[in-house]
């Protein structure tokens, strides 16, 4: 009963001022909503990729592949007849071209047909939307059906092969991932599925297979080892089927980005709560003093405030979490569309909601610890004597200035912690920046707002710390977002440089048959081609992380004189070492995923069986975004057991473009060419998502400024309510309501302007530090994101104006008579 009473009293206390309660609650709601949405989006993204990876893997345990394009079905008789094998799926891949009536290029019409012996196999998971898997017709993804305007029962023709009817249309699945428009088709082939027999009929590749997938019973591991032994010196090899799509997506790294923003929003919310609770405690000092004089303990007073904070946080969580779920859904839709993933998803909300509620309740409490403690420590005598206990001393400002300036030294230290130190420095130095901005803008305010402008400038110094903190929060928000947007804007250039430096040529052409010397000579005879280099890529190759988890990537053969596939600066020594013993270089993402240290050994399932290789170094490469490895060509051919090259890297003569050459190559090598990719294609596909990302960043910039503006509204409201008597006096002395409004708007404008100016300066400092950082090895250049600065300025100033308008309305409505009584 007593406890219930405490909650009721707390409720009455926090709702005493409706507007202040509403604004503070809004701040908490938005903070929790951001955090919830990010947690949900992260979990859901993981689920989505896991779902599609599992769909790709299906029930298969192992597969037999070849380092040539195809192999004879006879080679795998031991698999097909093994008692350990419970189910098999035979597959043949063949590159072909749609026969269409439109004017699409050969490149755009390129399609990879996978022939399978059983479309209903449990080793395949095909999410059918329409039709049935009858093993007689074609299975096509919905995006292809839409683009070709085909339905179940319609016929699709393939150049030089034949025609077949569509028997099923399926949803997105990795196995049949296809472009959804003709522009995308320039960079990526379509993929469809046909019955194996039909494809063999069309191609004449009787008895040929690209791979066999199979499921095993508990004898599987034994069979795997015996097959590794059996295939040791052949052109086929066995690998476990592993769900690992990291080579084709790097979406996980993106979430560091968004968690940073969610953390920032929670920080701003925390500050809003701190402001509200601190002001409330200061206002009620007398009440606490009276409570203590009647025998209440320090603990009881602190508990009262704690309950108020928890109540506020719980209400915030109750409203913020559902909004966060909705935001998370919106975010997922935007994210998948930005990355052009035609995927379906189910929101994973249970754990994220639980986490968000815990964070949502804990954070406000943590931010309110000081006022909670302060309330308990209220001095009865001093408070009842109305002594001013809150006045900030000069020594505190000096301490703040010295500490702030000291932390700025971190700008010269190349370490991730420096960013936090710089942000802390900005917050500490903000009172001085606010005073500077105040001095500069005072004449301008006076010009536009008359005497109200002068008063606004003077009033700002009255609660300097609070006003400065409010501005600083806005500044930190703007600085971080500007840094992120500058990184996003600058990244395409960084990626482009990295791709051009490590792509190995101007075009990469992939064939279904190993390239011969005659092919090489024929290519060199083209006027446009300056150089031709074979590229050996062993794929898919499975390996183990340091924790024994199975992963899958590609291994490129490298040669000192061959094409440059990774950043070789300062790597010459390790490159030389590659040639000595069978060893390996890992791309950055692969190295992080592996989890070991340079000098340790990585276990890899090679075509010659499971082997361990020393990891010599980590290298930067654009190939598969760094989820890749490199091995000396000689060792890859011999100890590793991979002999053939299906790719050629072409370097063009000056004045020629890959686009011009592409169609010619398709015509000349149409019987075995499977892919022609230019370096521009690779740059475009890598950077196009970043352009979409920039739009997301802009939305977040406005949202963060909006949240910070709620903080401004909150602070101004506190300032207004604390100065009720003063505002009553100036109204009594003849200031009109309009003049009072202008005064408060002027204060808000100064806080907003200081925040925006401080944010832009801080953002530039952070960006400069980032551009100079060796950690990023010059990936980010110092480019001023002018567009985003203008947006920050407009959004910052206009939202601050809106925020101050809310308080100005309250100020102008203050009753002169009752406020004079308070004084």
């Amino acid at each position: 009963m007593i406890m219930l009473n405490m909650w009721r009293i707390s409720w009455l206390n926090i709702t005493q001022n409706k507007k202040r309660f509403f604004i503070s609650l809004l701040g908490i709601i938005l903070g929790i909503a951001f955090v919830t949405s990010m947690l949900i989006a992260d979990k859901t993204t993981n689920d989505v990729f896991e779902y599609y990876e599992q769909m790709y893997v299906a029930n298969a345990d192992y597969w037999v592949l070849s380092d040539e394009h195809t192999y004879s079905e006879d080679v795998v008789t031991s698999v097909l007849t093994s008692s350990a094998v419970t189910e098999t799926l035979l597959a043949l891949d063949k590159q072909a071209f749609f026969e269409l009536e439109g004017d699409q290029s050969l490149n755009q019409r390129s399609v990879r047909i996978t022939g399978v012996n059983d479309q209903n196999s449990s080793l395949l998971k095909l999410p059918v939307i329409e039709g049935s898997l009858d093993n007689e017709g074609l299975v096509i993804p919905d995006v292809v059906a839409n683009l070709l305007n085909k339905e179940v029962g319609d016929t699709i023709r393939f150049a030089d092969l034949g025609e077949a009817k569509v028997s099923a249309i399926v949803e997105y699945t990795q196995l049949l991932a296809s472009p959804s428009d003709w522009e995308g088709a320039e960079q990526k082939s379509f993929r469809i599925m046909a019955p194996l027999d039909l494809l063999r009929d069309w191609t004449g590749m009787d008895n040929e297979l690209s791979y066999v997938r199979f499921q095993t019973n508990n004898e599987g591991e034994k069979l795997f080892q015996s097959l590794q032994e059996e295939f040791r010196n052949s052109n086929v090899y066995v690998q476990p089927v592993v769900a690992d799509d990291r080579q084709s997506n790097d979406i996980g790294g993106l979430y560091t980005f968004f968690y940073l923003i969610a953390g920032l929003s929670m920080f701003i919310s925390g500050f809003i709560v701190f402001n509200m609770i601190y002001t409330s405690v200061m206002e009620r000092k007398k009440e606490f003093a009276i409570m203590k004089s009647f025998g209440y303990l320090q603990r009881s007073v602190s508990r009262l405030i704690l309950i108020e904070v928890i109540l506020l946080a719980l209400i915030g969580a109750a409203i913020g979490v559902p909004i966060g779920v909705w935001l998370g859904d919106m975010f997922m839709q935007t994210l998948l569309s930005v990355f052009e993933f035609d995927m379906v998803y189910t929101l994973n909300w249970q754990i994220p909601i639980l986490t968000a509620v815990v964070i949502g309740v804990l954070f406000p409490v943590v931010f309110s610890l000081f006022p909670i403690y302060n309330a308990g420590k209220t001095s009865v005598l001093l408070t009842l004597k109305m002594a001013d206990q809150t006045h900030s001393s000069k020594s505190r400002y000096i301490f703040r200035a010295v500490l702030g300036a000291g932390l700025l030294i971190f700008a010269f230290i190349d370490h991730p912690v420096s960013y936090l130190a710089i942000l802390a420095s900005i917050i500490l130095l903000f009172p001085f920046l606010l005073l500077g901005v105040n001095r500069i803008f005072k004449p301008i305010l006076k010009l536009f707002f008359g005497y109200s402008g002068s008063l606004a400038a003077k009033n700002l110094t009255q609660q300097l710390n609070r006003n400065a903190n409010t501005s600083a929060i806005l500044a930190v928000g703007i600085a971080v977002i500007l840094l992120l947007s500058a990184v996003i804007e600058s990244a395409p250039e960084g990626y482009e440089n990295e791709i051009r430096n490590t792509y190995g040529g101007d075009l990469r052409v992939t064939s279904e048959a190993a390239w011969s010397n005659q092919d090489k000579a024929k290519l060199l005879a083209y006027d446009s081609i300056a150089n031709v280099e074979p590229l050996t890529e062993a794929t898919p190759i499975t390996w183990e992380t340091i924790d024994g988890e199975k992963r899958q990537f590609s291994i490129f053969a490298v040669d000192k004189e061959g094409p440059i596939l990774f950043d070789r600066s300062e790597k010459e020594k390790s490159y030389n070492e590659l040639t000595k013993e069978p060893s390996i270089l890992l791309g950055e993402r692969a190295f992080d995923e592996w989890g070991g240290n340079v000098g340790e050994y990585i276990y890899i399932n090679t075509p010659s069986g499971k082997q361990q290789f020393e990891v010599l170094d980590v290298v930067k490469t654009s190939n598969y975004s760094g989820y890749v490895a490199f091995m000396d060509e000689h060792h890859l051919n011999n100890e590793f057991g991979w002999a053939n090259s299906f790719d050629m890297l072409l370097t063009l003569n000056d004045g020629y473009t890959g686009e011009q050459l592409r169609d010619q190559l398709w015509l000349d090598y149409s019987n075995h060419l499977s892919k022609v990719e230019t370096v521009e294609d690779e740059i475009k596909s890598t950077t196009s998502a970043l352009t979409g990302m920039n739009e997301l960043i802009l939305i977040m910039l406005v949202l963060i400024i909006g949240l910070a503006s709620i903080g401004t509204a909150n602070t101004l409201l506190m300032n207004t309510l604390e100065r009720t008597s003063e505002i009553g006096t100036i109204r009594a002395l003849g200031l009109t309501k309009q003049q009072v409004k202008k005064m408060i708007i002027g204060e808000g404008l100064l806080i907003g302007l200081s925040g925006v100016i401080g944010g832009i300066i801080s953002g530039m400092v952070l960006l400069y530090v980032t551009s100079q950082s060796k950690l990023l090895a010059g990936f980010i250049s110092f480019q001023i994101p002018l567009g985003n600065i203008i947006l920050a300025l407009i959004a910052g100033v206009s939202l601050s104006l809106f925020a101050s308008w809310i308080s100005s309305a309250t100020a102008s409505k203050i009753s002169i008579i009752s406020s004079l009584k308070e004084g």
């Binding site: 009033n459 100036i730 003849g734």
Partner: protein
């Protein structure tokens, strides 16, 4: 001249209606110094607030120099107040962010009428209230008596025809109070300003020409200071 006709004021809070002024008729001549006394809740402060245009009457008219406050809009009343009325409050109500000079100049700033001439006048006022040396000092750093002198200078800066004082000496000791009341009556004499002062203090009321005794929202008695036994009469009334 101030004319108050059948002035009524009621406050409504929820369902409850409190009739504070129940029909006040009053005339104060130009240059007259009037003290209003009465027990708490008698309506004297409400009358002062209505005279200053801080609030509007429920019924009746207030004419100051033939301007009817009851017929003015909120904005017109504010502008009228800053031009023609000076206020002195019990708690001084100085603005803490402004220095003494800025506090005094406030009504002129609000009006946009601060000139060099007016600035010289501010300095004269400062001198006349004995604070010549303290013009640049923050107002909240002064003593109570000094703050009230600043408040008086502020009330006089726009040379108002009417000066309204609400318990101007309520927070001061007898010596300081005498000093302040002396200043107020000096300005009354020198500038022929009409002064209406609400007070509980018979000593303060003794500086006025007339004493109006309020009771239950109506004027109960009007006494001239010239009456020999006014002090005794007032004391009895207040008791």
């Amino acid at each position: 001249m101030i004319k108050v006709k059948n002035l009524k004021k009621a406050f409504i809070q929820g369902q409850a209606r409190t009739q504070v002024l129940k029909g006040v008729d009053l005339q104060v001549e130009e240059g007259e110094f009037v003290a209003i006394m009465g027990p708490s809740g008698s309506g004297k402060s409400t009358l002062l607030q209505l005279l200053g245009g801080l609030d509007i009457p429920t019924e009746g008219d207030i004419l100051i120099n033939q301007n009817n406050l009851s017929e003015m809009t909120e904005k017109e009343r504010t502008i009228f107040r800053r031009k023609y009325i000076g206020f002195i409050f019990q708690n001084y109500q100085l603005l803490p962010t402004l220095n003494v000079e800025e506090n005094i100049a406030f009504p002129l700033h609000a009006d946009g009428s601060l000139t060099m001439e007016k600035h010289r006048f501010i300095l004269e006022l400062l001198d006349s209230v004995g604070l010549k040396e303290l013009g640049r000092k923050r107002a909240n750093l002064l003593s109570g008596g000094q703050q009230q002198r600043v408040a008086i200078a502020r009330a006089l800066v726009n040379t108002p025809s009417v000066l309204l004082a609400d318990e101007p000496t309520g927070n001061l000791d007898r010596n300081k109070a005498e000093e302040i009341l002396g200043l107020i009556s000096r300005f009354n004499r020198e500038n022929n300003q009409t002064i209406i002062m609400v007070t509980h203090d018979i000593f303060a009321a003794g500086f006025a020409d007339r004493i109006i005794l309020f009771k239950d929202g109506v004027i109960d008695q009007v006494i001239s200071r010239k009456d020999d036994d006014y002090a005794k009469y007032v004391a009895n009334f207040m008791a």
